[in-house]
Symmetry: C2
Subunit: 172 residues, 2 copies
């Protein structure tokens, strides 16, 4: 298990936040992830579900796929996954399947979280792989970019509604 | 929700079993999956973790990705996923994220199942998507191909051990 200093944790979570900003720029739910091994980033990912039209393309999945390709191995032993928001059920399952031993996430996800909130998949003793979990690194920044997205999303919906109304007036 | 006759269920599970045989032929854990919409298969998948070196590449994930591409949509509304073995935690999460409303699986997976055995993710009322689940279609065939794999795997391990022993004798 890698033993990161607080400074290193903040550094890698900032890299995950850079990934989240890629999603925000594309009007996607802004979650970002990096996977680190021996002090190097071996996989990066950001949520790209809408852009790629792939239901599974969460930040963690993209990062795991990239790290698998980097390593030429589906097992990501001795690595650490940094992600801005608590992994969902699917991603928690994927982290275990990829044999990642350590997860550090920013903010919790009370509605969908599979790593402590709704479920506790990463530490379930019935499963064949258990993960050390730490949370709270840059939690406010990680949550704040989500709030920005949902505010912008409401504005987009309002604008779309206004345009639809305008168009219906023209149609009369 | 599609209303399949018993004959149709057996037909599509047989197609999922054909996918499982692709995994068996490559010495992968033999699980297969098809996704059906309006009576047509829109996605097929088989477990290919070792071949592709991708931790996430379970049968359901491959089939969901293919169905997303076929439909040009990450939402697989009005579709049914047939899979030979009960989905794991990751795949159960992925099925919900893809908004698949119906899952029919063959045999249960007591050790890793996320759709009734260890967890009941597909019917969890706290999540924003619930799935109708049916099990038992061709259950014996679906379990039997798994047993074939594990028997062949033990034989491969035995043979590898024998060869290693032979080599160590040559080295002396």
């Amino acid at each position: 298990m890698a033993d990161f200093s607080q400074e290193e944790k903040v550094y890698f979570m900032t890299e995950a936040l850079k990934e989240a900003h890629k999603s925000l720029d594309k009007a996607e739910i802004p979650i970002g992830c990096v996977i680190v091994k021996d002090g190097q980033i071996i996989g990066r990912g950001h949520n790209a579900r809408e852009e790629l039209n792939q239901a599974i393309m969460h930040a963690e999945i993209m990062a795991i796929n990239e790290a698998n390709a980097t390593e030429g191995n589906w097992r990501l032993l001795d690595s650490t996954l940094f992600v801005t928001i608590e992994p969902c059920v699917m991603c928690s399952g994927a982290i275990g399947l990829a044999r990642i031993p350590q997860v550090i996430y920013g903010a919790t996800n009370a509605k969908f979280g599979g790593a402590g909130s709704l479920y506790d998949i990463l530490t379930d003793e019935r499963l064949n792989h258990r993960v050390e979990v730490e949370t709270g690194i840059l939690a406010e920044d990680c949550a704040s970019i989500m709030q920005t997205f949902f505010r912008q999303n409401r504005e987009r919906q309002k604008e779309a509604k206004r345009l639809a109304k305008e168009n219906s007036e023209f149609a009369n």
